[in-house]
């Protein structure tokens, strides 16, 4: 139970749709969300498919917790092959769309081929239509959502792209609830390449749980005793801006394109500074933490800014003006841009300019030029036509690859790996490129007691975290509830009716990481791609708490070798047949 046992398959070229049964064995092995979506895409997608061609598929996945009373279960997984990296890509979006899709009767939606004209998809319970986008095409995400809600009512939920997705940028995102994103890897460009401007969902059904009375009891118990505790309440009191203070104190706050880990202007964009601008809070469906902050300054407002935006679009660009960062954030949200990648390309362009390699007319700390970047990117206008390439491709064109901060083509999130070596391994081995959402060893290294400057034990640390996040994002739960696998297993047993243990969840986590790796392997990825920019190995952080630190290549290679060995992969980083069999991939 707690599944709808129904997948909606939409063919855009033929304007047809059909329901099919959920693959039960796959659901048992991968649960839902991230894991199940990757399994479906692995089975259905032809290797070598161009991610922006009609052959790519865009999959929306709910999980067994979606639409139930389980706290923090309001996320939707989106899966495709990534235009930024050519790896597997799974994103996670909050808001209220996931439960609505499940109430419409679907575990998953698989979107195939390409519409003949700019269109939007309407899923109203059983009824599915593909309608002309008309005047919506060309509009920002915010106006698009407003117009669609006006047409379909506020019980409808909307996924939309902005001009960045329409123009197929590798850093285009998909938005929902105005200010929530499926952010990374160009997922918005996949939707744009299918000529789909928006997906509107209405759902008036329900989700059954196997043991409803006990689930309600347990959910309330865990809400009080496990969720709303000092471990998780940082998300409510401050939200992610708190991480600015932690990163600054530990010297891992990206500054001036990852030249430093400490930013003089941090006090203007930390938790206290953001709290002063706050005029409201926001949460997702089923969430009691309500991490969202509405921030307002004289001429702009946004839900946010989140830590990643404060770091990559703030300190990393040398910008300490919070109003400018809020405006940059708002522009990115409306235009449909991933702020992590947008901040990175801006910082990269600033360093290329300052070093005299290529003049993009931008310098660290220069607000005026900085604020022109989102529109330039989204419309590929002026220098935006080149900036839109992303740091990897832009560095191939002009140089500076040593400080093009990406892995596999996906730009770095907000944690300096030279100050937290496990994070370097995490970035290098994450399935979709440099990502902090597959494992976050920063919590125990930089912010905890584990020595950040040793290779010892880091492979085991990263592997454990990767398994935990992989299974969590398959059930689907939000990152911000630090629950145990035992608690997760207890709730799964009550929702699905299948007796589940923490050990089984650990195995599912391993399976999900391996199916993602197999997908990438089939696309030609191996050990050569599990690496970091030269800056991390050969340059030393310039000042602050981590002054003088680098991540020596020898230590990185040791962490990577340990990682492959513990995982049972070969020395090329490939999943052997024996592992495929033992995990029933």
């Amino acid at each position: 139970m707690s599944y709808q046992n129904c997948v909606l398959r939409i063919n855009l070229a033929g304007k047809t749709s059909a329901k099919e049964p959920l693959q039960q064995q796959w659901a048992a092995n991968y649960l839902g969300g991230k894991g199940l979506g990757i399994k479906y895409l692995y089975e259905e997608l032809k290797p070598g498919t161009d991610p922006l061609s009609p052959g790519n598929k865009l999959m929306l996945l709910t999980g067994p917790f979606t639409g139930t009373i389980v706290p923090c279960s309001g996320k939707l997984a989106l899966i495709a092959k990534s235009p930024a990296t050519n790896t597997i890509l799974d994103c996670s979006i909050g808001g209220h769309i996931a439960s609505t899709l499940k109430y419409a009767g679907y575990d998953a939606v698989i979107i195939e081929d390409k519409a003949q004209e700019p269109s939007y998809i309407l899923i109203d319970n059983d009824a599915v239509d593909i309608l002309p986008a008309g005047e919506l095409w060309g509009k920002g995400s915010h106006t698009t959502e407003t117009l669609l809600l006006k047409t379909y009512g506020h019980d409808a939920k909307v996924l939309s792209i902005g001009p960045a997705g329409e123009n197929l940028l590798p850093m285009a995102c998909i938005s929902s609830d105005y200010y929530r994103q499926a952010g990374r890897g160009g997922i918005g460009a996949v939707m744009g390449s299918k000529n789909i401007k928006a997906i509107v969902v209405k759902g008036s059904g329900s989700v059954a749980a196997a043991n409803m009375p006990e689930l309600i009891n347990k959910a309330h118990h865990f809400l009080r005793e496990d969720l709303l505790t000092d471990t998780n309440l940082w998300a409510y009191t401050d939200g992610t801006p708190m991480i600015v203070d932690l990163a600054q104190a530990t010297g891992i706050l990206p500054t001036n394109n990852f030249q430093s880990g400490t930013f003089d202007g941090y006090g203007s964009l930390n938790a206290e500074a953001v709290r002063k601008t706050r005029f409201g809070k926001k949460g997702c469906f089923s969430c009691a933490l309500g991490c969202g902050n509405f921030s307002r300054m004289a001429n702009t407002r946004v839900e946010g800014p989140e830590y990643e935006t404060l770091a990559l679009c703030g300190s990393n660009c040398g910008i300490s003006d919070l109003e400018a960062i809020i405006e940059f954030n708002r522009l990115c949200d409306d235009l449909g841009l991933d702020t992590i990648s947008a901040g990175n390309i801006t910082a990269f362009a600033m360093e290329l300019t300052e070093k005299g390699i290529k003049d993009f007319g931008m310098r660290f700390g220069d607000i005026r030029e900085y604020l022109t970047v989102p529109a330039k990117l989204a419309y590929r206008d002026g220098s935006g036509a080149e900036l839109a390439l992303g740091v990897k491709e832009l560095s191939k064109r002009y140089g500076g690859s040593e400080f093009a901060m990406h892995v596999k083509g996906l730009e770095f999130p907000g944690y300096e790996p030279r100050g937290s070596w496990g994070m370097g391994l995490a970035y290098a081995t994450a399935d979709r490129g440099a990502c902090h959402m597959r494992s976050w060893p920063v919590a125990s290294e930089a912010f905890g007691d584990v020595d950040p400057y040793t290779a010892e034990g880091k492979a085991q640390l990263v592997i454990g975290l990767q398994h935990y996040n992989a299974v969590k994002f398959s059930t689907i739960l939000c990152d911000f509830w630090a629950l145990s696998l035992e608690t997760m297993a207890e709730m799964l047993t009550l929702t699905t009716g299948n007796e589940t243990s923490a050990a089984q969840l650990e195995e599912i986590g391993e399976r999900v990481v391996n199916i993602a790796r197999l997908f990438n392997q089939r696309e030609g990825f191996d050990r050569n791609n599990d690496t970091l920019p030269e800056r991390i190995f050969n340059e030393y952080i310039t000042d602050g708490a981590t002054a003088g630190k680098n991540l020596p290549r020898g230590d990185f290679e040791k962490m990577l070798a340990d990682y492959y060995a513990i995982r049972g992969w070969d020395t090329d980083g490939k999943v052997p047949g024996s592992k495929i069999a033992s995990l029933s991939l």
């Binding site: 000092d230 471990t231 998780n232 309440l233 991480i243 600054q248 944690y415 976050w440 912010f447």
Partner: protein, 74 residues
């Protein structure tokens, strides 16, 4: 000696605002935490004069201490 302590996030419910604590010379962060009504499990990161500190680190007159809760995810 006197040190100034600030709590962050949900820890503010134990320690609102900024507090000055009197300690004996030679005291460390462990001694300081023992003086505060903040549960040990709820403290994840200790910052002393703007930099990460360890629990056994000795304090001096005029030190600024900030205490942080655990943070999961980013």
């Amino acid at each position: 000696m006197k040190v100034t302590v600030t709590a962050n996030g949900p820890l503010k419910k134990y320690l609102a605002g900024t507090h000055t604590v009197e300690l004996e010379k030679g005291s460390d962060l462990r001694d300081l935490l023992a003086n505060l009504a903040v549960p040990g499990d709820s403290v994840s990161l200790l910052v002393l004069n703007g930099q990460k500190a360890t629990i056994g680190q000795e304090l001096h007159d005029g030190d600024l201490v900030t205490i942080y809760p655990p943070v999961c995810g980013g």
